[in-house]
Subunit: 407 residues, 2 copies
């Protein structure tokens, strides 16, 4: 009996300890996400007001690259640094990662790069969690857990999807595996982070309507299967192109400042080639268009190109919101071609391309439920696993280990 009592005592201690530690991570990461979301909105509005800001992109990029080069230490490794540390690597996550990535991402968006925000939120979360870990002198095992908390909290609070954030932190570390050991801390961090962003700071999230869910039929399943394969292949294209561009840019311009400067010029050139600025920034207007069926079949590939070129040239920001835009515009176009409800396929694409690029099928499925409700759950699940399989062993996070081979 005493052994059992000890187990429950230990468990209570575990819960209280992690409610405090993960709660702190959530408080900081959620506040950072709120500030970041407000800043992003300001950056996008300012960019739209002063159209000449675009011409500052090469200079902004140069400045951020300079800061990273001069002061960044290993911050430039970004999300991969967090994934490695959550696997138990011994490199320190410098606190400067948080202000650097925040400033860098705002610069990207203010001057018109095409990038996302999850990377930024996750890296801020990671930097805060390392700080708390050092403050409380956590041991090796607990340090891994608190870094997972940072990832979950950043992700959950920036998208308003705490449950997807929780599972994302557990699933993103290794391909093909979910380990439950950090499930409670990750949940607390993501939940508190989301509450802090939305309730404490009053920063809301955009909602999309999936519309009426088509009724099940063999033909519908075949169409969705076809779409899901394309979602998976698109995510591979995005990951591989971005990695390839990163390599080529670095080979051609070993000086990171010059690299970002040239990368900025390329984006400006591309804006004048396509003749529109709608591919700049997060791509939220594109997502709106996708759900309303107002996109051309080339939209998704153009957004993909803009984002790969931005991130390939070393600009800061995440990949996920552009992936949402790429996926939902692709889904929207497919809706037209396959004669399936457009907002429905846009929603499936939104989740599907993201899933293939991050290799986190269960987290993406749960995100689908959190964003679009449970009525489409069967289709969301199908899309997640097919896109996951068809993205192969590629992904946007090169430090993701292969836990279990896909096939």
């Amino acid at each position: 009996m005493s052994k059992t009592q000890n187990i429950y005592l230990y468990l209570f201690f575990f819960l209280i300890k992690w409610a405090v530690l993960a709660g702190l991570v959530g408080l900081l990461a959620g506040s950072a996400s709120a500030f970041f979301l407000v800043s992003l909105k300001w950056a996008a509005e300012t960019r739209e007001t002063y159209s000449w800001f675009l011409f500052l992109l090469p200079f902004g990029g140069m400045l951020v690259s300079f800061l990273y080069w001069k002061y960044g230490l290993n911050s430039a490794k970004g999300n991969n640094l967090l994934i490695e540390q959550a696997h138990g690597a011994k490199e320190s996550i410098p606190f400067r990662m948080a202000p650097l990535v925040l400033f860098g991402t705002i610069v990207t968006h203010l001057f018109g790069g095409s990038a996302g925000r999850e990377g930024t939120a996750v890296q801020m979360g990671g930097a805060f969690s390392e700080l708390i870990g050092k403050l409380f002198k956590l041991d090796e095992v607990d340090r891994k857990i608190i870094i997972i908390c940072g990832i979950s909290s950043g992700f959950g609070s920036v998208f308003g999807t705490p449950l997807a954030g929780t599972v994302f932190g557990l699933e993103v570390l290794a391909l093909g595996l979910i380990r439950h050991e950090a499930i409670f801390p990750a949940f607390i961090a993501a939940f508190v982070g989301d509450i802090v962003t939305t309730t404490v700071w009053g920063v809301g999230h955009h909602h999309y309507e999936i519309g009426t869910i088509p009724s099940l039929s063999a033909l519908l399943l075949l169409k969705i299967l076809f779409a899901a394969i394309l979602f998976g292949l698109t995510s591979t294209l995005f990951s591989e192109l971005t990695h390839w561009l990163k390599k080529q840019y670095t080979k051609l311009f070993p000086n990171p400042m010059l690299k970002s400067f040239v990368g900025g010029l390329v984006i400006i050139g591309l804006v004048y080639i396509v003749g529109t600025r709608k591919y700049l920034g997060l791509g939220i207007p594109l997502i709106d268009d996708a759900f309303e069926g107002e996109v051309s079949p080339l939209t998704f590939i153009t957004k993909l190109l803009f984002t790969s070129l931005t991130l390939g040239a070393g600009y800061q920001g995440g990949e996920v919101t552009p992936l949402f835009a790429i996926g939902s515009t692709l889904g929207s176009s497919l809706g037209d071609i396959l004669q399936v409800s457009i907002p429905f396929l846009a929603a499936l694409g939104f989740i599907g391309v993201f899933c293939g690029a991050t290799n986190t099928p269960i987290a993406c499925f749960i995100m689908g439920i959190e964003l679009f409700g449970s009525e489409a759950s069967l289709y969301l699940f199908l899309v997640c696993i097919i896109s996951y399989l068809f993205s192969g062993h590629t992904g946007i996070y090169t430090s993701q280990q292969i836990g279990v081979s896909k096939s």
Copy 2:
């Protein structure tokens, strides 16, 4: 390029192969579940019509134990045999497991034992999948996958929850881990199984209404936390009591026929002690009462006792539906005490006790979504992880490996 082409060719082959193999498993397991569900309904109705059937329970138990003893080979290991084989053990799953567990479970329910149905459906699924595996001469790796298909398909079709079935098959094998390698085959098997049960054979499932979801508050979270701890402890009590009773019964009555005979007499005695027959069978009327708030605080513990005594004496049948009954009646009573909406806490208990006993938090969370919709998802998730933590390293499946320690 050719390597990439080979990967996609391989993937197409993988998908087609498993669509066929897992589809076959789903076809057979889904049909078996349909037949089983209809038989269960008949057994319950017959038992209620002829109340003297209860007195045949000791003889029915004796007959089933005799059949297992004489012809069962290793079938008596039940779900644990499947879990071991899905881990790669080399013991054969005899096809006779399917008819034996089907007949045995119907006998349990016809004469008034208190037991469930998932064990039966999962074991039928496992027996069919081993048969198909032998027919197609699958290698070791594929054999593990097809056994997972059998588990997912049986579970998904008997409860009408294909997504929970899919994840259950992946999550039940080891505590604290989900491995994604069989995710596509498991999904096909569970999805086809569910469609075959419901659409092809027209066998429906009971639905419960979770009612209005209370709005989030710190007090509500504390109440749910308290309830979830009780759900986890209740599941431990159930698992430990059943294991203990199995040992004691076997020690006292080494002859399995005598063991079941005495076990039947004990159930009859208990019926006369409590003075009602409502604890016999699956417990679906209890679940109905729970959602309507018409249960006493002792209901859950009485159902727990009836079920542990039935299964402890070697009767066939699963544990899950009684766990639903135990959980929902406990939740219902707590709703009264904690001043929280009764159907809401009944739903949380329904999922929570089950989760603690099977150690499958993600599968249980998804089952909650499939049964009760996404509105309560946050609370369902919280209950699943807390109950999972508080059930410790115990559970109803003794062959479940410890993949990752809980804390």
